[in-house]
Amino acid sequence: MPDANSGLRAAGPGAGRRLDRRPTQGWAFFTDTSVCIGCKACEVACKEWERRARLRVGPARHVLRTTPGALTANSWRHVAFVEQPRPAADAAGSAAPAAGPGPQFLGMPGAQPPGRGTGAAGRSDFRWLMMSDVCKHCTHAACLDVCPTGSLFRTEFGTVVVQEDICNGCGYCIPACPYGVIDQRRGDGRAWKCTLCYDRLGAGLTPACAQACPTGSIQYGPLDELRERAAERVATLHERGVPEARLYGHDPTDGVGGDGAFFLLLDAPEVYGLPPDPVVTTRDLPRMWRRAGLAALAMAAAAVAAFVGGSS
């Protein structure tokens, strides 16, 4: 990979000469959507801390306005909210595992409210998915690679941060991001995104969103430790009959070298507005420069031929 991109998390030769602080793989977010209740405390905490969003309305009204919403230059955490029909097989599977073919005894009318005896999963034919989305702080970050001013940089914590005094608003990072995270702020012109609370990390504090999360959905810690914790959590959920639980962005061999903010999801990534298989665009850059070189040679040759060949 290009040099500018290999961050703290990069393994292999050369990794050792970088800042060798603990934890060696940088600090990270693990967002476990299976316990997210969609309260948006993370969104509000982020804005309260940053004080840059200049909310003209109170947090409550802001919260109402951001469904379905997206990550923007002013919203660095965003809670995605999906209501979807629970597939019949899924509902039946968890509600009545003993149900077989043929006539069934539906049971006597009970004294309890319906569903109390069958567990939470069997009570309804729909479900709510909530996910607090955030900048992924990719190991191979396209925004950082393509930034022509050096405004985007890799911090000593392994995160990717915009230096607002350097950014000149060229906008290149915005279409480069495979997740559609970084955005230009209107009236300001510069690019903005989650800094993983660079200022708080420097003071040894937990990022504001993780600090405010009341359910432990947003977890913050050393990347390697969080990956272990996430693998255990998925295994637990699978045991408990939630086969759709899966990790997203945890794999260091994926197209972006693993995310510094990864997720436990309960459906396909695109349901939450995440790309199913993101790849850092600069992976193909050497091939792109080769093609450009070929085209440049062809152009020069054509110009020479135009003047040398022919009689008029």
Partner: protein
């Protein structure tokens, strides 16, 4: 806000034939998305950048024309090429600075040189090309300078400096014309990224054709022979590249064939063909040559805007992000 599908709608099916009833070879894609919203942020670049793609290419093409005229003794081609190259590169600089969110900070581009950022590479290419094109064009004003004094010194030095600068500009020109292909391709925008093998060729061809257009417009028929041959070569490269982009990418070719980008690229193709035919047929007609030159320039504008807006359209629709990635994911999962 009122046009959102109701909360909970999971599948968003795309009707075939949206965008003008054109024939699609790709079956309508079924995919999941978050309220049909784009996953990527579309480029925030305004039309300045599409216009820069044209003016940058024009500067490159006309500086090659100028150097050829300089080396083979065709003063009309040299003069037209040098003046156009300076005008085009100055306009390019305006477009590029104007598109910045913070134009006053344009010089922050010069803080670093980063091969991983095509925009940084382009900045340095322009930093070499711009002054060279300026000196070469200034040398054309020599006849107006007095023979004595400080300006008289310029009269003696400028022709030589102009020749050297013209060659420097021409040597940089192919890089200037083709790096913009990498600039667009090195993004997550699906239809730009997947077109990375062809975009530099499209832009190189378009730059050659527009430079040739300047020669056809400005030079008398006796000197315009090289411009005609440049037009043919440029048009061939451009038509081949655009055809590949429109047909090779499967679903991701669709944005280049439908809607406004499709119309622009079709217009570009027609104008290119007309320009080449006119340039070849109108060998002895000043009027026909001039019209052909104008058609080639218009073709280059249409092609650049078509490619630009095709990419933007592909970023605005989650279909172009989700479907190819999902296919790649499934292929990897099944293929091991």
């Amino acid at each position: 806000m009122s046009t959102h599908p109701p909360v909970g709608e999971r599948f968003r099916r795309f009707r075939s034939g949206r965008g003008g009833g054109e024939q699609l070879t790709v079956p309508p894609a079924e995919f999941t998305s978050y309220y049909g919203r784009p996953i990527l942020k579309p480029p925030v670049w305004k039309w300045d950048i599409a216009a820069y793609l044209f003016t940058g290419g024009l500067a490159a093409g006309s500086s090659l024309l100028a150097a050829g005229g300089q080396l083979t003794g065709r003063p009309a081609l040299r003069r037209a090429g040098r003046v156009t190259a300076l005008a085009a590169v100055a306009t390019s600089a305006y477009f590029l600075v104007n598109d910045l969110g913070r134009p006053a900070r344009f010089h922050h581009m010069l803080r670093v040189a980063k091969p991983t950022s095509p925009m940084s590479v382009g900045t340095w290419i322009l930093t070499v090309f711009g002054p060279a094109a300026g000196v070469a064009a200034a040398a054309e004003a020599v006849a107006w300078l007095p023979e004595r004094g400080v300006l008289g010194l310029g009269r003696r030095l400028l022709p030589g400096a102009g020749r050297a600068a013209g060659l420097v500009a021409a040597a940089t020109a192919p890089a200037l014309a083709t790096y913009t292909g990498v600039l667009l391709a090195d993004t997550a925008v699906p239809s730009w990224h997947e077109a990375y093998p062809e975009l530099p060729a499209v832009f190189a061809g378009s730059a050659l054709a527009s430079g040739a257009g300047v020669g056809l417009l400005a030079a008398p028929c006796a000197q315009a022979g090289p411009a005609r041959r440049m037009a043919v070569a440029g048009a061939a490269l451009e038509l081949w590249g655009v055809h590949r982009v429109e047909t090779r990418l499967g679903l991701l070719s669709e944005p280049y064939r439908t809607g406004v980008p499709g119309r622009l690229l079709r217009a570009g193709r027609s104008l290119t063909a007309a320009g080449v035919v006119g340039a070849l047929v109108g060998r002895r007609s000043r009027l026909l040559s001039g019209l052909s030159g104008a058609a080639l320039l218009a073709a280059s504008v249409a092609t650049r805007f078509g490619i630009f807006h095709g990419g933007v359209a592909s970023a605005r629709d989650p279909k172009y992000t989700v479907v190819p990635q999902r296919e790649r994911f499934e292929r990897r999962a099944t293929g091991g």
